[in-house]
Amino acid sequence: MKRSVPLQFLPPKATHFMVSLVLVGILGCVMPVSEGGKMQVEVDVFSGRPNPEWTLTPSEVNELNQLVQALPTDTGEGTPKEGLGYRGLIVTKTDSRTEGYNKISISNGHVIVVDQGRSKRFADRNRSLERWVFQTGKGRLEEPLYQQIRKQLD
């Protein structure tokens, strides 16, 4: 005679494992487990012409989010750049389903993050976040422009 074991008599670990499997099976098809989402970098440099932009890869988005989360609060020294010439970088979420910040403005050692309608300021020490985001443009931004702006970051 075959005996089937009812669920409630399975050891707890096995139950958990099976429930997880089922859940992943259902949800895995609907929501990616670790999706970077679509974010776009805009180089805020021109006055007349539209600014150049490119899309970050999912792994770049993940790295960006980690870097932003690690930023210290802004102490308020100096101000973001305005006026003519290279001013900074603006990263925006292009897909509303993407997790994370709506907009990240990076300029002259300051970061302004807009998330769910609220904005917060952080400090970009040594402009390292700005440099990291900018270097993702290598090969995506026309080379002479890339080189000229890189000089502004030194």
Binding site: D44, V45, F46, G48, E82, G83, L84, Q148
Partner: protein, 304 residues
């Protein structure tokens, strides 16, 4: 023989000189062709400082002088053709330290020093204007371009209103061109895009052509009243890279909007922009080194 006197001082004797004959003939010919610029002596501005230029014909042998009074003034604020008078005044003052144009100088030579000459030339641009519909476009920003048109163009100047442009819903969608032309299209408008001539390469000639294609006029190519408001706007270019525009405002300064950033009336050094030719537009990169000229914005312009 033509004697020129600058009616400018209060205590010291006014600087005066005799023009070399060929220059005198040319000046008189110009005056004869534009008689409306002749005014009676002391008929114009009578306060302190520059008041006008007095011309005195000292001989009867020139063919050009037959119909002119022996003594008259130009560029004194009271003639019927002040812009032409100012043009001639500029020529006379520019030439006052030029030995080839000046036969003898009456009064001490220190009267002809460079500082006075430069100050007078600057001042001519803001000498009392005629009151009328619109204002005459009489060179409030000095430029090396001496070819001023023979007609006076009328322009309008609007009050500086940055809040209209810095509204978060619109700020990033409108650029310097939107601002200069005063049309918030939310398309980050490009010169020529509405009329099919997108500027390439990025130089004065191309951007100029694109703006003209959209319906702007070069300065001194007057627009009719039907094109009001006719703003005075200025174009600069970072060669091969980008362009930028400024608009002359009612308050006497110039406003601009660098890309999607806020509209303002100060330059990169934080100074109020009184002259787009000399304001700081080169301290960053791109560096907008080339000044391409002034234009009039027309109501019927198309931009996109």
């Amino acid at each position: 023989m033509l004697k020129v006197t600058l009616d400018v001082f209060s205590g010291r004797p006014n600087p005066s000189w005799i023009l070399a004959e060929t220059e005198a003939q040319e000046i008189l010919k110009e005056i004869n062709n534009n008689r409306a610029m002749v005014a009676e002596v002391n008929s114009g501005y009578q306060g302190l400082g520059y008041r006008g230029i007095t011309l005195e014909i000292l001989s009867d042998d020139a063919t050009e002088t037959a119909n002119l009074p022996n003594l008259f003034q130009i560029a004194n604020g009271a003639s019927l053709y002040e812009s032409k008078g100012l043009e001639l005044a500029e020529r006379l003052i520019s030439g006052m330290s030029n030995d080839e144009l000046r036969v003898s100088a009456l009064g001490s030579f220190s009267d002809f020093d460079e500082t006075l000459r430069r100050q007078l030339l600057d001042h001519l641009g803001t000498f009392p204007k005629l009151a009328s519909l619109g204002e005459p476009d009489s060179s409030s920003a000095m430029s090396d371009d001496m070819t001023i048109a023979s007609a006076v163009c009328r322009i309008e100047r609007s009050a500086f209103n940055p809040n209209f442009w810095n509204n978060p819903a619109h700020q990033s969608r409108n650029n310097c061109y939107n601002y200069a032309v005063n049309r918030r299209t939310d398309t980050f408008a490009q010169p020529g895009r509405a009329t099919g001539t997108y500027p390439y390469p990025m130089d004065c000639a191309s951007v100029r052509a694109a703006a003209l294609s959209d319906g702007a006029h070069k300065r001194y190519d007057c627009l009719p009243e039907s094109e009001k408001p006719r703003y005075l706007i200025a174009l600069v270019v970072a060669p091969g890279v980008d362009y930028h525009w400024y608009r002359s405002q009612k308050e006497g300064f110039w406003g601009h909007k660098p890309g999607g950033t806020p509209a303002k009336n100060v330059d990169n050094s934080g100074n109020l922009i009184t002259n787009p030719e000399t304001c700081d537009r080169t301290s960053g990169w791109p560096s907008y080194t080339q000044f391409c000229g002034y234009f009039y914005r027309a109501k019927s312009m198309q931009i996109r």
